[in-house]
């Protein structure tokens, strides 16, 4: 078995093995270490001795053995601290054997829910999800989020401890809680995707891995809960957004806005898959925020050019989104879409209402949008000033270069900040 194939197999099996071990023995924090050791053993032994007939069972057996060792050394310490974690409730002693099959997707799913526990900060939820479910190394996660490895190690350790001491039984949350928790899971996957996607250039280019990982995990989730429209919506949104990646940056790494992108470089396969997913769920019941955002992305992806985009449709979708979400960036995008339909002044009126929103104070996106609409409205001087304002607000060099270039295109009356 070639290396990449083995790596892929271990990656898929890791959350299943972890889920099985936690389900059976509890101790999320130690179980994670035990599974890591078992994976390491597999990575060294299987290439030499051949992959076992039941690789999943092998991993679970070895991890369970390692966990017993870890528990023995931990027990002495725990007794001193006198904090016995009540993981296994009496009814759970009759749980099925740890390596019982047909639970794969379920265990991965429960693990996702566990990693996105509400008692953790978003940063911890993301780190733990990538580590426990995604199987990324702490070093990889640290690099992706530009923090020292030691910081990430502590973040993950603390998160595991929080989950362990919360005494949660390993299982799906009750129905009442489940929707809220699923929302947290989707949000974490969305944040992981964005973290990878929003990186425009620079030494952090390898954060592409994060978008791929977010898509992979969302696929697993969609596979477990195919009926859920918001999961399908999120997956569609990721695919339809990722499809534009090849056209987002020029050969020299500079930013290219959607209106100016070479649409022949968009990935048609991803667009087809995302659109099909969306078509499958949209007719069923009320559309949630991820489905609506995916629908907007689909309208953009289907258009042959910026001018020939179905802007009225995009305005309508943003208006639905605004009814269920109070996000100023959505309001900003809505204003730009309105300008495409009813002219720049109508869009500028809507932007003016957003100036008072404190959540956008210091954000470059508002003056950037204003600059763009002012230019369209034939007010180069005010547009020039707004481009400069936007450039001064952002700390991202590629964005700054773009905004200053727009400003100097409109006149060389560049005043220094």
């Amino acid at each position: 078995m070639p290396d990449t194939e083995l790596e892929g197999l271990l990656r898929a099996l890791a959350p299943q093995a972890l889920g099985a071990v936690v389900r059976r023995y509890g101790h999320f924090d130690l179980a994670e270490d035990a599974v890591q050791e078992a994976l390491l053993a597999a990575a060294t032994q299987w290439p030499a001795e051949g992959t076992p007939a039941n690789p999943r069972g092998w991993l679970i057996r070895v991890a369970a053995r390692k966990l017993t060792d870890l528990l023995r050394s931990e027990q002495a310490r725990r007794q001193r601290e006198d904090t016995l974690v009540q993981w296994t409730l009496p009814g759970h002693w009759l749980a099925p054997a740890a390596d019982r099959a047909a639970q794969d997707a379920d265990d991965t799913l429960i693990l996702l829910f566990l990693c996105c526990h509400p008692s953790l900060s978003a940063a911890s939820q993301i780190a733990l999800t990538l580590r426990a479910v995604g199987g990324l190394t702490t070093a990889e996660i640290a690099r992706a989020f530009l923090v020292p490895e030691a910081t990430m190690t502590r973040r993950i350790t603390r998160a595991k401890r929080t989950i362990t001491s919360s005494g949660l039984p390993f299982g799906m949350p009750a129905d009442a809680e489940r929707d809220g928790r699923l929302g947290a899971v989707l949000h974490v996957l969305y944040l992981i995707f964005n973290e990878g996607y929003a990186t425009t250039s620079g030494p952090s280019l390898r954060r592409d891995d994060l978008t791929a990982e977010a898509i992979r995990l969302t696929r697993v989730l969609h596979h477990s809960l195919p009926e859920d429209g918001e999961i399908a919506g999120l997956l569609a949104l990721m695919l339809l957004t990722d499809a534009r990646k090849p056209a987002r940056t020029g050969p020299d790494g500079s930013l290219i806005l959607m209106a100016e992108q070479d649409r022949t470089r968009w990935d048609t396969e991803l667009i087809a898959e995302g659109t099909a997913l969306l078509t499958g769920v949209l007719p069923h019941g009320p559309a949630g925020p991820y489905q609506l955002q995916a629908a907007i992305a689909a309208v953009h992806d289907e258009a042959p050019s910026s001018e020939r985009t179905d802007w009225p449709q995009i305005v309508a979708l943003y208006e639905l989104l605004l009814r269920i979400s109070d996000n100023p960036v959505i309001a900003l995008n809505h204003a730009v879409a309105v300008a495409m339909v009813r002219g720049a002044p109508a869009g500028l009126d809507l932007l003016a209402k957003l100036e008072a929103d404190e959540r956008l104070t210091g954000d470059h996106r508002l003056p950037a949008a204003r600059a763009h609409l002012l230019e369209t409205a034939g007010e180069p001087e005010r547009a020039h000033a707004a481009y400069l304002e936007a450039a001064e607000r952002t700390t991202n060099i590629p964005q700054q270069r773009y905004l200053y270039a727009q400003a100097s295109r409109l006149g060389d009356a560049g005043a220094s900040p």
Binding site: L205, Q400, G414, S416
Partner: protein, 131 residues
Amino acid sequence: MKYILMIPGTQQDYNAMAGNEGEQPSLSAQDMAEIDEFLLAFNQELEESGEFVDAQGLAAPVHTRRVELREGAPVVTDGPYAETQEILAGYWIVDCASFDRATEIAAKLGSGPGPQRPIDVRPVAGSEPEL
């Protein structure tokens, strides 16, 4: 033993890089891409040799806030630096065998594309080997 490699820069340098002042950026997009590529390879090499600890580039000096205590209350000043004042623009922390090795790493960093800047190498206190 850990060492910090420090690269200075002025607000003017940042302006030139971003194409501020209504001029053409002093570095073309192509130049920027070459710098990125060099830094990516440079960081990867340090990671592979196990010497990489941390590296960050800082936003332009104008985004600095200075906090001082006056008469017992914190007073915040925005952008305390003059345009031409050289301050820290970016740093690397490496964990390597000797001062000479840290100096060698700094020399390699200085040999890359882009504007030439002096690089200061300073030992990080508390990371000295045991006596």
